[in-house]
């Protein structure tokens, strides 16, 4: 199952990683996919940006 992560599942795990600690299996599956998928790497940096923007939004900057 570790090899079966597609973009849809990867996007779910990437989001989940902001809300709880991912298991070793989840991390491994995600890493496998991320290494091979440019689109999901772009998506990941965009999620990080949104996270950063939300923090700035709170601080009212």
């Amino acid at each position: 199952m570790a090899d079966d992560v597609n973009c849809r599942e990867a996007s779910r795990l990437l989001s989940l990683g902001f809300d709880r600690r991912l298991s070793a299996t989840e991390l491994e599956a995600l890493a496998w996919h991320m290494e091979r998928c440019r689109m999901c790497r772009d998506f990941e940096s965009q999620l990080r940006f949104i996270h950063q923007a939300a923090e700035r939004f709170r601080s009212g900057d």
Binding site: S11, D42, Q46, R58
Partner: protein, 194 residues
């Protein structure tokens, strides 16, 4: 004990009350929403570094208090339930973003140098607009989680939903925000470089 920024925050009360009244149409509820928003603001104002947008920040906190109160009071209950129902089953919605094999139907676009956007006030209007355009539960849960930094456990408890529903909603909110920001902001920026 008076908070050092108490007066500054208090000075926005009349405006906030007008806003709450326009949303709740009930003086008592509006007072309550403003009171709760101001208390929440005083608690986290230490992290507030902005100058010009204190009112915007206060309004965004108030907006979520208003929605909470509407929910608690059961006002417009049926409307909210209808609107919120799809949040719990986002499979169909995900099908719009991913094909049968689980690949992106449309690749996430190039955002150039997104950090630069943080310095532009128009970006924050786009950000707020995108937050507001999410389904109401998704918007509220995302706001609590990412903007207010609340723990997922506490959010689930308040919302009366399971942790896995919470995660599903947050996933949806992030995908929705991402798509909306891309459309309403990043695609409209001039190409990087000259």
């Amino acid at each position: 004990m008076t908070h050092p920024r108490f007066a500054e925050i208090e000075s926005h009360r009349p405006y906030l009350l007008r806003y709450a009244l326009s949303q709740l149409r009930d003086g008592e509820l509006a007072e309550e929403a403003v009171q709760e928003a101001l208390l929440a603001a005083l608690e986290s104002v230490g992290t507030f570094a902005g100058k010009s947008s204190l009112r915007t920040w206060l309004t965004s906190i108030l907006r979520y208090k208003v929605v909470d109160l509407q929910r608690r009071a059961g006002a417009e209950r049926s409307r909210f339930e209808r609107e919120d129902a799809p949040d719990y089953d986002d499979e169909a919605w995900l099908d719009e973003l991913f094909d049968e094999t689980g690949h992106w139907r449309q690749a996430p676009g190039a955002w150039g140098d997104p950090e630069a956007a943080l310095e532009q006030s128009r970006f924050w209007q786009a950000f707020e607009g995108c937050l507001a355009r999410l389904p109401s539960t998704a918007s509220r849960v995302f706001f609590k989680r990412e903007v207010l930094g609340e723990e997922t456990d506490a959010i689930c408890r308040d919302e009366g939903i399971s942790a896995s529903n919470c995660w599903v909603i947050l996933h949806r909110a992030r995908l929705g925000l991402r798509a909306c920001l891309e459309k309403s902001w990043f695609e409209r920026q001039a190409p990087v470089g000259r």
